[in-house]
């Protein structure tokens, strides 16, 4: 199905931020906001929950620790015990470095993998906005244009005049899925 929405363009983060705060206060659904760099305070303004990625890191790290210690203990002391330099079969201090490295490795890879997977869930927004310089120097604000109270002309004017938007345009897009 196609979806209609209003696309508002800003030249800098200040207007955008104020606009977002305003619209949320009004309760108008903000579909998506795009910026060329992480705008300070925007997530809060949009009311996004904080990420749960740190937990992934923690569990990844623990997994690495377990694998590291078990692997070394089992191969050195259980599977084929060999007398190496007269040291004990389970000479744990010697096993610390490898265990540590595996902690970092597992934690790091787990985190990134999780990030990539999670971030694949696209925002309900136009699939491609190339040319709108959203990755260059423009800030885009996408508003839902479905509900009853929606009035394009009115909205566009308020964006331009009150928040210094460069412009606003109604677009129809294939819903990304």
């Amino acid at each position: 199905m196609t979806q209609r929405l209003l696309l508002v363009t800003f030249a800098d983060e200040h207007g955008l931020l104020r606009a977002v705060r305003h619209l949320r206060a009004e309760g108008r659904p903000i579909l998506d906001v795009r910026a060329p760099y992480p705008v300070h305070g925007l997530p809060e303004a949009q009311g996004l929950a904080s990420s749960r990625l740190p937990w992934v890191t923690l569990w990844g790290g623990l997994a690495g620790l377990t694998v590291g210690l078990l692997l070394q203990a089992w191969t050195s002391a259980v599977d084929w015990p060999l007398n190496v330099g007269g040291k004990p079969l389970f000479s744990w201090p010697a096993f610390v470095p490898v265990a540590f490295e595996l902690v970092v490795l597992f934690a790091g890879l787990a985190t990134v993998a999780a990030f990539l997977l999670v971030d694949r869930r696209r925002a309900p927004a136009p699939p491609s906005l190339d040319g709108l310089r959203a990755t260059d120097d423009r800030f885009l604000l996408a508003l839902g244009a479905e509900d009853a109270t929606y009035d394009a002309a009115n909205l566009e004017r308020s964006m331009r005049d009150r928040f210094g938007a460069l412009g606003a345009e109604e677009v129809f897009v294939e819903d990304a899925s």
Binding site: L7, T9, A11, D12, E13, H14, G15, D32, R34, P36, Y37, P38, V39, H40, L42, P43, L48, S50, S51, L53, T57, Q72, T75, S76, D79, W80, V84, K87, P97, V98, F100, E101, L102, V104, L105, A107, G108, L109, T111, V112, F115, L116, V118, R120, R122, A123, A125, L129, D130, G131, L132, R133, A134, T135, D136, D137, R138, L166, G167, E169
Partner: protein
């Protein structure tokens, strides 16, 4: 960090977001200049020398190196430690300074990280080729096998190296790439030709710049930075264990882990400075790598130099205080023995020369800084050489004392490793945004914000009309 208003800004004032994009992407989109080609061919030549040397080594045997029954390691492991060390500054800048929210890192962290990854590649070559039978190198990995499952010796520092260097390379590469995704998206959106578009689209992993993505992206970068920080400290500690855990006087030193890490960061910053100063000139990045960047890096270099000097002194003191005759001889020999000259070079380059950086005037003189940064690299190479070869040449039993002199093959390999380093670095400058655009933009916004008057009225460089026009055009033709 509130006094920024008084200090000169990190990015030349008046630089617009658009300019950032154009400055950075423009270089990748245009054709490479004469300078680039010159440097690239030179590097390829050096790389060729290295490949020939290594090929000859593989065909003939380790004997083509100047080693002997007493000195089993010299150039090979010296180069290894040297390159691993170089890598450290990159991680430090990208991770630790990120944790400390040092904004000045934004201009240089991308290339610093690239330097890290490339340096680790160069380092990785040496443990491989220094083996007598490199075709069995895979035996250092603990994999199930038909030998009744004969595993590996987890007590060996060399094995720790395998894991440390492996992890270090992986995490650095991932960190680097994740940080680069938004910039790749920028390139994607600017790309004209189909190929470029396709490539960058694939690499950008569908980055949209949506707030959610940015939010997660920042979190991931922070987490990776948090992981990379202890990692980078561990890596050179592990490398130092190769020597610290041995019985050899001059290697067997408990101070080595911090000593090596400090040295690594020291040499790393030396190399970063070298590269930055070159890139700044060659790629006209004065707007982003300002004198203030150089100044700060010089201060870091000076600080690390002093730490290293302290380490040298401590080493000597501990040798004397230990009362261990072998230790004492090892260090008297290090200073006054056959390798004394090398120790001299090391002290000169790593301790004496950097002291010049106390002077603000010299820190401002880029030529001087460039020279110092080069000398630091020389000095740090010699530090490793003195420790490794110098200690081996005179160990416990006088009967087995022997001297060492490098052969053509060894020198060729060293040249080759530099060739590889610069070849890869030039390719990096050519195909990836050498400056983290999004971060620089954030910095600009940040500084603009601090420069802005209290009321929320738009800062001077925000509303650029031509840009607005372009925006409308784009809107007009944007989505149908």
């Amino acid at each position: 960090m509130t006094d920024h208003a008084h200090e000169p800004p990190w990015i030349r004032p008046g630089t617009t977001l658009r300019q950032v994009t154009d400055d950075v992407c423009g270089r990748l989109e245009g054709r490479p200049g004469r300078l680039w080609w010159g440097g690239f061919l030179l590097s390829l030549g050096m790389l060729g020398i290295g490949l020939v040397s290594i090929g000859y080594l593989f065909l003939t045997g380790i004997g083509v190196w100047g080693l002997n029954r007493t000195v089993g390691w010299a150039f090979d492991i010296t180069n290894f430690v040297f390159w691993v060390g170089i890598g450290h500054a990159g991680t430090l800048i990208s991770a630790i300074l990120l944790l400390f929210r040092q904004r000045w890192r934004t201009s240089i962290n991308r290339s610093a990280e690239a330097m890290t990854i490339i340096a680790v590649m160069c380092a990785g070559i040496f443990p491989l080729i220094h083996m007598g039978r490199p075709w069995f190198a895979y035996w250092v990995f603990p994999y199930p096998n038909t030998r009744g499952s004969l595993w590996v010796n987890f007590r060996s520092p060399l094995l720790w190296d395998v894991f440390a260097i492996g992890t270090y390379f992986t995490i650095s590469a991932v960190f680097w790439f994740v940080g680069m995704i938004p910039d790749l998206a920028t390139l994607r959106d600017r790309a004209k030709t189909g190929v470029r578009k396709a490539v960058y689209r694939a690499l950008a992993l569908g980055w949209t710049g949506s707030t959610r993505s940015w939010h997660r992206h920042e979190t991931v970068c922070l987490l990776l930075a948090g992981l990379a920080t202890p990692l980078v400290l561990s890596v050179h500690s592990v490398v130092s264990f190769d020597f610290a855990t041995s019985v050899l006087p001059g290697w067997h030193a408990t101070i080595f882990p911090p000593y090596f890490v400090a040295g690594a960061v020291f040499s790393g910053f030396g190399m970063v400075l070298t590269l930055m100063l070159v890139a700044r000139k060659v790629m006209a990045l004065e707007a982003y790598i300002t004198k203030r960047h150089v100044d700060v890096m010089c201060k870091v270099l000076l600080a690390m130099g002093c730490i290293v000097a302290l380490a040298y002194a401590t080493e000597l003191y501990m040798a004397w205080y230990s009362g261990n005759p072998y230790e004492q001889f090892a260090f008297r020999n290090r200073l006054f023995g056959p390798m004394g000259w090398a120790y001299g070079v090391m002290v000169l380059c790593n301790v004496l020369v950097p002291q010049a950086l106390w002077s603000r005037r010299l820190r401002g003189n880029l030529l001087v800084v460039f020279g110092i940064s080069l000398l630091v690299n020389v000095g740090m190479w010699f530090e490793r050489f003195v420790i490794i070869a110098g200690s081996l040449m005179r160990d416990f039993l006088p009967s087995s004392w022997a001297d060492y002199a490098p052969t053509l093959a060894e020198i060729g390999t060293l040249i080759g490793s530099f060739g590889l380093f610069f070849t890869l670095f030039l390719l990096f400058c050519r195909f990836v945004p050498a400056i983290a655009m999004s971060e620089v933009k954030a910095t600009i916004a940040h500084e603009a914000h601090e420069a802005a008057p209290a009321d929320g009225s738009p800062p001077p460089n925000a509303a650029d009309r031509p840009g607005a026009r372009a925006a409308e055009d784009a809107l007009a033709g944007g989505a149908r």
